[in-house]
Symmetry: C2
Subunit: 193 residues, 2 copies
């Protein structure tokens, strides 16, 4: 079944592309590096993907699914809405401790290509908007105001860039503590009203 092999090969190429792009930056990884690492010929590569930009887009799509899965899994562990929100920062802490953690793919890609690749920039915007919407749903469930979701999203973004640049994972803990404070403050204020 050749179609199966095609699909497997696509996945392998995307695995390799994800790893190399994330580790070195997109512009620093040529199609030849992809070819060598994936063990595919250039011809086959261009049969599977029409261009480099399409590979980048598919890699981002995969990362988006991965991220959404991680968020959902983390959220599922919490008993209360408050716990579910805080579980996001626990997930971040585990991620930051990965040896090959190099920051948020979407933030990095936006910094590298956002100014010149509108489709990529749009993809990043949609991803971040989706994450904010997920937080907003949890906040609404907890009975908090919409502004709390924005604040929690900013904490998550800041933790990712801070951890990436500083090269340490402690930002996750700080963000979690800040999130707890903000949640409790917002909820007692709402409840007192």
């Amino acid at each position: 079944m050749p179609t199966q092999t095609d699909e497997e090969l696509r996945e392998k190429v995307l695995d390799v592309a994800d790893r190399l792009y994330y580790g070195r930056g997109i512009q620093a990884v040529g199609m030849d590096a992809l070819r060598a690492e994936a063990g595919v010929s250039l011809k086959r590569l261009y049969q599977l993907f029409p261009s480099k930009e399409s590979i980048v887009e598919e890699v981002l799509h995969r990362r988006r699914r991965l991220w959404n899965g991680l968020v959902e899994a983390a959220v599922a562990t919490g008993a209360t809405p408050r716990d579910r929100l805080l579980a996001v920062y626990d997930m971040l802490a585990r991620w930051f401790d990965d040896d090959d953690f190099r920051g948020c793919v979407f933030i990095n890609t936006f910094g590298e290509l956002g100014a010149t690749a509108p489709r990529i920039a749009q993809l990043v915007r949609e991803h971040k908007a989706h994450f904010q919407a997920a937080l907003a749903a949890l906040v609404a469930e907890a009975g908090g105001p919409a502004s709390l979701a924005s604040q929690l999203a900013i904490l998550a973004e800041g933790a990712q860039t801070t951890a990436a640049i500083a090269g340490t994972s402690e930002a996750a803990g700080h963000a979690r503590a800040a999130a707890a404070t903000l949640i409790d403050s917002a909820l007692t204020a709402t409840r007192a009203r």
Copy 2:
């Protein structure tokens, strides 16, 4: 006085480089674009700067001075330590409203070159560490715990990336509100102790 002209030319080139690099990304702007926009010959350009990377480093140095100046100016407007801390987020709000705001130069550059240019990565790290230290001094003055400074820094970083990606400036207001909550919570907790 030829030395004076040299210095003026250097400044002009750095002005142009800052604008183009910030607007399009560093790798997307070649030496020829710099030459054309600054009205300098390539020969002169390489007499003034030994390489493109040195231009990038000088641009970052200038941005660091600019940023530190903005922070100091903002902080100087506050009467109390709390006001001084919050003034940082007011400064961010004004910056985000600039038409050509495209996020934090340091975060963008780290995303683009951090993986392949160690000197640049180090420069970004130092800049962020310096900002955190400035916040820590203000927090200490206010009598807050060190962890508060980390939380406030994360808020500032998150506001910058969120504003850049979303293309709106509202993140500054959310970060400011969150900062106020965190400061008040930390200070009452400390005071009550």
